[in-house]
């Protein structure tokens, strides 16, 4: 498994196909955040931004090899483990990207509430931001795993379906991503920092289930 992860990571990094999702992340943050804005608000936007990006990174990993090379890897390691390695690599990349993004955003933000009346404690705020980012990265990975081969194999469908699913997860009330992000944003007006533990737990379950489903299908397609 280590060898597979190393191969997938090298494939992702050297292919430079990470560049478009990285640009998307940069654009969302560039439009949504300016330096000196309230920290919890900004961390909420940063966490939300990683969701579509992680979905895209799963697509990059799942389609990174031409079919012949994929067949070689699958014969050597088994399709299930290849699919698992793809998903884990994509998730790791989005988690690292999200963590770095959150720390940079926290560094340039103002530790105050929206109306600049209350101070927001920086440590808990960053912790809450990182947990929300992790939850969004997990959900984005789940969306990516379900909206790409081997689950969704029709050409043309994966990108719009991923975009729609990511949007729904962010705006629909009741979704863990929406709960994590709105927890940060509401904290920004009240000054109370909520650690999004429950949304994170739900995201872990959703991501594990989606990954398991895609790994099961990997050998059957």
């Amino acid at each position: 498994m280590t060898a597979l992860l190393r191969y997938q990571a090298a494939l992702l990094l050297r292919s430079q196909r990470w560049l478009p999702p990285l640009l998307l992340y940069g654009v969302i943050i560039g439009i949504g955040i300016q330096s000196g804005q309230p920290v919890l608000d900004s961390l909420g936007v940063t966490a939300a931004a990683i969701l579509p990006v992680s979905g895209w990174l799963v697509r990059v990993c799942a389609t990174g090899e031409p079919p012949a090379a994929r067949a070689i890897t699958q014969a050597a390691a088994g399709p299930t483990r290849v699919q698992l390695a793809c998903t884990v690599t994509a998730f790791t990349a989005s988690a690292v990207l999200g963590a770095v993004g959150s720390l940079i955003v926290a560094a340039i933000s103002d530790p105050q509430t929206d109306n600049h009346t209350l101070r927001v404690p920086m440590g808990p705020a960053v912790a809450a931001g990182l947990l929300a980012t992790l939850a969004c990265a997990l959900l984005g990975t789940a969306v990516g795993a379900l909206c790409n081969p081997p689950v969704l194999r029709r050409p043309g469908w994966p990108i719009p379906v991923t975009a729609l699913a990511a949007l729904l997860l962010l705006v629909a009330s009741g979704s863990p991503a929406n709960a994590a992000v709105s927890g940060l944003v509401s904290g920004s007006s009240t000054g109370a920092v909520h650690l999004p533990v429950l949304p994170l737990a739900l995201a872990v379950v959703a991501c594990a289930a989606a990954t398991a489903f895609s790994c099961r299908l990997a050998a059957r397609r």
Binding site: A10, E65, P66, A68, I72, Q74, A76, P79, R221
Partner: protein, 288 residues
């Protein structure tokens, strides 16, 4: 087992029952679209059967027909990665990658990015990837396509070595004589089903060997020949007798070697096709 690609779609393969013992060399024959490649993908574990199951999962390596790899690695780097995926240590993978690059005479391309390699050179990398793993099951889907003559011979040799070392090899190739000398057993896919057509089927022509000698017929020959001609009546000592052996062409080399190395050696009078075209018996090889 059976396989179809869509629910209610046509069965590509049905009621396949196949044993792959250690040390076996199997050739899958069949027309285009008969399901040969699907069968190989199932055997390699890339694909799973719709019905039935495949038991046992040996360490497997697969060589696709066409390896047009737009991968961001150079040849040596890719081989090391694949060696590790096959379970080798990094150092082992690197040294075996060197060995195989050298054996296929592409050491000069070790540092070349895969997408810049010619089709044949890329195919050699795909073959090297499979061979460096020394797999228990080697699956070759027209792996010879695109290789030059020397590389084909190297691949034949490597497959034979693998089988001799107790590995199993399954292959598809358009050349009906491929590896027949190594005793490949032929299975034919037709209408989604598998028929065992052993060596000696119409695909492998029969030859007749006529030998003259005074000694006992080599014992090894009985194992290697399909049928031995009726023995001539009891000889007086020193009188040469005629031995006529009919056997598949791919086993003639073994038989000839046995006859020539016997003590006392046999004199080969003629080797000819069993059913020569045009009716005349034309010997096409005479030894000694």
């Amino acid at each position: 087992m059976g396989r179809r690609y869509r629910m209610r779609g046509p069965w590509v393969l049905r009621d396949i029952d196949l044993d792959l013992p250690a040390g076996a060399l199997l050739r899958i024959a069949g027309t285009n679209g008969s399901g040969k490649s699907t069968l190989l993908r199932l055997l390699a574990g890339i694909d799973a059967p719709t019905t039935g199951r495949i038991t046992g999962r040996p360490r497997t390596a697969y060589v696709p027909e066409r390896f047009a790899a737009t991968l961001p690695f150079d040849a040596a780097g890719y081989l090391v990665h694949m060696g590790r995926v096959h379970g080798l240590s990094g150092r082992q993978a690197a040294s075996r990658a060197d060995t195989w690059l050298e054996r296929f005479a592409i050491t000069g391309y070790a540092g070349t990015s895969l997408d810049l390699l010619s089709k044949g050179t890329a195919q050699k990398v795909a073959v090297a990837q499979a061979l460096l793993a020394e797999p228990e099951l080697l699956v070759l889907d027209e792996a010879w396509t695109g290789l030059d003559t020397a590389a084909r011979a190297h691949l034949d040799e490597a497959v034979t070595e693998r089988v001799a070392a107790g590995g199993t090899a399954v292959f598809v190739d358009h050349d009906p004589r491929r590896l027949t000398g190594a005793g490949a057993r032929v299975h034919r896919v037709a209408n989604g089903r598998l028929a065992d057509s052993r060596a000696g089927s119409p695909e492998v022509p029969q030859v007749v060997i006529e030998a003259e000698g005074t000694g006992e017929p080599p014992a090894a020959l009985a194992r290697h020949t399909g049928a031995t001609a009726p023995q001539p009546p009891a000889d007086q000592a020193g009188t040469p007798r005629l031995l006529r052996i009919t056997l598949p062409a791919d086993r003639s080399d073994t038989a000839l070697r046995a006859l020539l190395t016997a003590d006392p050696p046999w004199h080969i009078r003629a080797v000819r096709p069993a059913h020569p075209p045009g009716g005349g018996a034309i010997p096409y090889g005479v030894a000694r």
